[in-house]
Symmetry: C2
Subunit: 227 residues, 2 copies
């Protein structure tokens, strides 16, 4: 079975959350620019990424991962646990929107250069208030996980752990000074990120050409926004 | 079985999407301020709304509706259809974030009065570019629904239809001039909204004291943002 991931090429972007799940599972997949004619014509996606899998088409990162999780062995069997992992993923999605808006507070249709001052204000709030609030929550979730294995949910890695890893990577790229100062307060989150990075398939992927560097997508490094 | 919806009292907010589903189904529920000690202590929610149902706790609007949908009879049996309805709901959630940011482009932690000029810029982009893009998509989804009954998915009303109704109501409240000019281009969306409004349980709810008016939540009416 070959999955097709439809997403912009040249940036990690939201597609990266799907790529990491496919890579960890060793799944057979194609990664291509969106083909809007592919998939179920009655189920158009609002925006990439979307995934086609035979007759099935599914868009929205969290929904794609909810669909792929059981197929890729990246969630436990229990339905309540699957919903919890999905809830964590949706919270990561909220963070991703805010990370994007930190450099595009006036909307996605204009240039950063035309909203630099506004971005400084919004990025300041993101760095000082929102990033800590999200990291507090992830740290709490890991701490309260009864399985105590260091993952967000249950005793084994799930797609949400892969997504948290990538989010930490993105925040480090965009806000290195901020993250440098914050990381010691979040030992569980940082340990989880290192555990993900060290997994054999993830490590191989990160060294491959399939892993695209951060550039002008969601997580952008503008030194003036990290001052 | 009594559900408890934990959400801020006094505004429709994101909780309204859950209320409408519970009301349409005639479900027994309590609507109260968030009790952070309720529910599964290992599954803390990042933010309200969250729902407790016996041993189950679930947060994030779209995840709550995904959980409630089958229990309330607001989705069909087919898993692929349920995922599609969830994908539609997640796209509504994206619109909701943008609707909020139209009056709070510099982040949720400051006052509107301190970002009025920036809000004008962002609201202009939202009104002229983003609202039409979302409405185009909802119109297309209804049109492409093979069941041709006027709903977003399948042949019967689902929770996504209830959510689209409330979103149209919110946009009309916040941007009456904009919506006045746009509505004739979206006959399917507007017909769906009227069909929802006319359903007996929804009509009774809308006239009850349980339906709270729009105020200072997601959908806010500032005339200067609708000019």
């Amino acid at each position: 079975m070959t999955y097709t991931l439809h997403y912009w090429q040249g940036i990690p972007g939201r597609g990266e959350y799907i790529r990491l799940a496919l890579e960890e599972a060793g799944a057979d997949y194609r990664d291509q620019s969106p083909d809007w004619n592919a998939g179920d014509p009655a189920k158009p996606s609002f925006a990439p990424p979307f995934l086609t899998d035979g007759e099935v088409t599914v868009g929205q990162v969290a929904a794609i991962l909810f669909y792929l999780g059981p197929k890729l062995g990246l969630v436990p069997d229990d339905e309540t646990e699957r919903l919890w992992i999905h809830q964590i993923q949706l919270t990561i999605a909220d963070l991703v929107v805010e990370a994007h808006d930190s450099h595009h507070p006036l909307g996605p249709g204009a240039y950063y250069e035309d909203m630099k001052e506004e971005a400084k204000t919004r990025a300041h709030a993101f760095r000082t208030s929102r990033i800590p609030k999200f990291l507090d929550w992830f740290e709490e979730v890991i701490e309260k996980n009864d399985a105590a294995g260091g993952w967000l949910a249950g005793e084994r890695l799930t797609y949400a752990d892969l997504s948290l890893f990538h989010t930490v990577e993105g925040l480090r790229h965009a806000f290195p000074n901020t993250m440098n100062a914050l990381e010691e307060d979040y030992p569980r989150v940082m340990k989880l990120a290192e555990e993900v990075r060290a997994r054999p398939k993830i490590a191989a992927y990160l060294e491959s050409e399939r892993r695209q560097p951060f550039s002008n997508g969601i997580f952008r490094h503008y030194p003036e926004l990290d001052a």
